[in-house]
Symmetry: C2
Subunit: 218 residues, 2 copies
Amino acid sequence: MTRLVVDISVSLDGYVAGPNQSLDEPLGENGEMLHDWVVGTKQFKDMHGGEGGETGIDNDIGAEHLSHMGATIMGRHMYSGGEGPWEDDPKARGWWGDDPPYHHPVFVLTQHAREPLPMEGGTTFHFVTDGIESALEQARAAAGDQDISLAGGGQVISQYLKAGLVDEMQLHVVPIFLGGGARLFEGHVAQAPGQLELTRVVESPTGVVHVKYELAGR
Amino acid sequence: MTRLVVDISVSLDGYVAGPNQSLDEPLGENGEMLHDWVVGTKQFKDMHGGEGGETGIDNDIGAEHLSHMGATIMGRHMYSGGEGPWEDDPKARGWWGDDPPYHHPVFVLTQHAREPLPMEGGTTFHFVTDGIESALEQARAAAGDQDISLAGGGQVISQYLKAGLVDEMQLHVVPIFLGGGARLFEGHVAQAPGQLELTRVVESPTGVVHVKYELAGR
């Protein structure tokens, strides 16, 4: 059965991007540090057309996640950093160039309708204007027997959490303080008893704690 | 050398107390769930005059922290839940009855001066009106060759973090969402490179992740 999976790097103080996000610094001040643990790994370099890279715990954790994803859901802000009509958006084709690192259908939540955008390497961006449940249904149809990655940002993840639609969540807790920016958990995700079950903790030599939870539906 | 140590339970969404704190619910809605992992342990029952209790990982973690604390620092809100003049504070003698579970000097940060308050069992509350560094100095003098526990709440911890005065921090990450309340990391604790070093991760059968960091000074 296809599952909706969150897999995201977060600072110890709870941010998925630093302060003052901009087109030049899409992850905000110091936000790139959130992904230092993964960009040096072999699986990341493989995926982005590079060579070499480190093997070990962080590499295994990154590769494991990607191995079973058949579709991705993300918010407009994560897709382009923009808002409003597409013709005014300098990143209307996304951040990743002609061959984005997804290689499967990606569903972008937006208020601005648009035809699907096929890219090189198997990635096609689909633009969903009728809400998170619709995006999930479309992603489920596209994923086949694989899982769906809920990529972010924090607000989109919170919306799916509030709706009780997330099945699994892995946080990569990075030993930094960002001191501000975009919080992962904002907007009053209410507690449901027994909602979260810790299923795995992996400590990396890089100081990152990879912690995984199952979420019960509501 | 005496160290300043934070040791605190936090929900997965980053709160050290739930929403709507009150005299009836000092930890806010569902906030008691933050401490379920510790209140059932043998060391906790021993400390609070009870009997029995569970042994195991959570018990060991709790006992370890308490074994080397010679003084405690806390904020006024954690001490009594009140503010303003002491004569109007229904919890002016603290939450814990005649024999508080500290058994050493406790330094309470407040804007309202007051004579020291000796309690049973070795706890004396000292009221510090001239700031966090003064409280730390006084606690250091009182702790001898033991360490100082920075008990909370979140705002006080943030103040000490911002000032670069915390030496060690252990978080007990509890698998619940509180959805609001008092955040542990609020108020722009800025990043210093290399500031945080992961030193230990312990996974408990209760689903709590005990994660410990060393902090470099600034």
